[in-house]
């Protein structure tokens, strides 16, 4: 594993993606797969598309890079209709990551990453430098460059998939259940790293998942689709959890949505410097732990307040009532 890479400023600024009354009907199907979808993904934000299996998530995503063509409406990226752009150059400006990764088995990791740079005629030196930079970015040892995909674990392959998608620094990324095939530990690890990486590289991302918890974790905003490709609700995780638009969304985000909201904030955010005095007793949690962890710690210890620590420093105490107040308020 290599050191944390330097944050880099993107060569190309992110662009917003706008779905404008988009309809997609597959031939021979009675109902549309995407029905009058209007949605704006703001530049630099991550939009998680969630919904039931067969709800049209993949279809909606593939409309953006024209792997599937819509029937009516329009989709624009940075204000330009995707139909006005040559499809090859459109796709080269969009990073594409799929669950099954789809690395080219006959190419080394370096060659996989370099496919598009090669087609764009980058020099060997530039490609090598970029490959090293990308391997660092996705936390893969540079020694992997010479290996073949079959020699890598699933998690490592998906890191390469990410690196390959990022190769030419596209302003837009499309990701279809990218971590869905990974074991829970690897998934959490790569999710965290992607969040971290995303804060360094400014991209507009459409992230498809069927897992509402993953959507809450990864998305700046969440679009909930219902069967038939109809948008049920679009908003921030906290908005969806606090105010689900209807029973369908309430059901989809889960009956434990109150608890889920606890995951959205950290103890640091609610610990008040002038709050409860620290009597030095009872359990403690790290300031960057979520409220959910705080509540769990508190319950496990059977106390009614918990110390919040930041390294050796005690920031204060948080009570059960404070935790309750933090999530019962309408929005955060």
């Amino acid at each position: 594993m290599t050191a944390t890479p330097e944050p880099r400023t993107p060569d190309r600024p992110p662009a917003d993606i706008v779905f404008d009354h988009v309809v997609k009907r597959y031939p021979g199907q009675e109902t549309p797969a995407i029905d009058d979808l209007s949605l704006t993904v703001r530049a630099g934000e991550t939009c998680c598309l969630v919904g039931p299996s067969g709800g049209g998530k993949t279809t909606a995503m593939k409309l953006v890079n024209r792997l599937i063509d819509f029937d009516s409406g329009d989709i624009t990226i940075g204000g330009r209709s995707i139909r006005s752009v040559d499809v090859t150059s459109l796709r080269r400006d969009i990073g594409y990551v799929i669950q099954q990764v789809g690395l080219f088995p006959h190419m080394t990791i370096a060659a996989n990453i370099a496919v598009i740079p090669n087609l764009l005629g980058w020099s060997g030196d530039r490609i090598r430098a970029r490959t090293d930079e990308l391997l660092d970015l996705v936390r893969l040892d540079r020694a992997f460059a010479k290996r073949y995909p079959a020699q890598l674990s699933g998690g490592q392959q998906q890191r390469v998939g990410l690196a390959r998608a990022l190769a030419v620094d596209p302003p837009v990324m499309l990701m279809d259940e990218p971590f869905g095939a990974l074991d829970p530990i690897t998934r959490t690890e790569i999710q965290d790293e992607f969040l971290n990486l995303e804060s360094e590289i400014d991209k507009t991302v459409i992230f498809v998942t069927h897992d509402i918890d993953e959507a809450i974790k990864m998305g700046d905003r969440i679009a909930v689709l219902r069967q038939g490709g109809v948008l049920a609700q679009y908003g921030t995780a906290d908005g969806l959890l606090a105010h689900p638009a209807d029973d369908y969304v309430a059901d989809f985000v889960g009956a434990d949505r109150g608890l889920k909201r606890l995951s959205l904030r950290t103890m640091r955010e609610i610990v008040a410097p002038d709050g409860l005095p620290d009597d030095g007793s009872g359990p403690s949690v790290d300031a960057d732990a979520s409220l959910r962890i705080g509540l769990s710690t508190l319950f496990a210890a059977g106390t009614d307040s918990v110390r919040v620590t930041d390294g050796d420093r005690v920031l204060g105490r948080v009570s059960l009532a404070q935790l309750q107040g933090a999530v019962s308020g309408s929005t955060v």
């Binding site: 890079n65 792997l67 499809v87 090859t88 150059s89 459109l90 796709r91 080269r92 969009i94 594409y96 799929i98 099954q100 990764v101 789809g102 690395l103 080219f104 088995p105 006959h106 190419m107 496919v115 598009i116 087609l119 290996r147 073949y148 995909p149 079959a150 020699q151 998939g161 390959r164 998608a165 499309l174």
Partner: protein, 234 residues
């Protein structure tokens, strides 16, 4: 057989070999440079020409046929037809056009490789991992780039499997072709068939088998060299 060189009886007088001796070593050493080695060399290039020509035609046809079903059906049908002709009749059929020549032999042998090589190449091009193709499309590779940069290399194992069988087939078929034009290892075999002398037949037969084994090993070596990803251990 008319039109063949006069010397159809192998020279075994002057050696201490008996016609009944199945493999008389002194004949082999005495005739190595005059009979066996030239026939072997001829056989190697007869085979090489046929396999390389067959491969070039089949690969071009398969690449062209990949996105054109009508051509895949047409060329597949033609190569099947060519394959079903009895080999000797096929060689003889071309004599009026191309004469008793290397060309006649090569036309026959090359035709025989087409079915195998074309089928294997086309199957190889078609059976690549779907995910890789989807990723390639999504990344913005054009259909031609996907065909040449992704599908073609991934078809190499299948193509080389075809080359392997085609090579061994051509080596054995080429001995039959000597009935039409006296070239290659078939020539000493046909010469010896008309005589009571076994050694020439047996020695040439063994030589043909050895050539097939060596050729097979060479093709395997090429396959090894062109598919490095297959031997990358986990």
């Amino acid at each position: 057989m008319t039109g063949l060189p006069a010397q159809v009886i192998p020279v075994f007088s002057g050696t201490e070999c008996s016609p009944d001796d199945p493999l008389c070593w002194s004949w082999v050493t005495g005739n190595w440079s005059s009979v066996l080695a030239p026939a072997l060399v001829q056989h190697v290039y007869i085979t090489l020409i046929a396999v390389v020509a067959g491969l070039v035609i089949s690969l071009a046809a398969a690449l062209f046929a990949f996105s054109r079903d009508w051509f895949a059906t047409g060329f597949g049908g033609l190569s099947t037809l060519l394959y079903t002709f009895p080999s000797l009749a096929f060689f003889i059929a071309f004599v009026p056009i191309t004469g008793i020549s290397l060309t006649t032999i090569e036309i026959g042998l090359t035709s025989y490789t087409l079915l195998l090589l074309f089928r294997n190449a086309l199957t190889g091009l078609r059976t690549v991992p779907r995910n890789a193709i989807e990723a390639a499309e999504g990344m913005g590779l054009t259909p031609a780039q996907i065909l040449f940069r992704i599908r073609f290399p991934l078809a190499l194992p299948s193509i080389m499997a075809g080359v392997r069988v085609a090579t061994v087939t051509v080596i054995s078929l080429a001995t039959v072709a000597a009935a039409v034009a006296p070239l290659g290892l078939g020539k000493p075999i046909f010469d010896a068939i008309h005589t009571l002398f076994d050694t020439e037949l047996v020695a040439t037969g063994i030589l043909t088998i050895l050539l097939a084994l060596v050729a097979d090993a060479v093709v395997l070596g090429i396959r090894w060299a062109v598919t490095p990803w297959l031997r990358a251990a986990r």
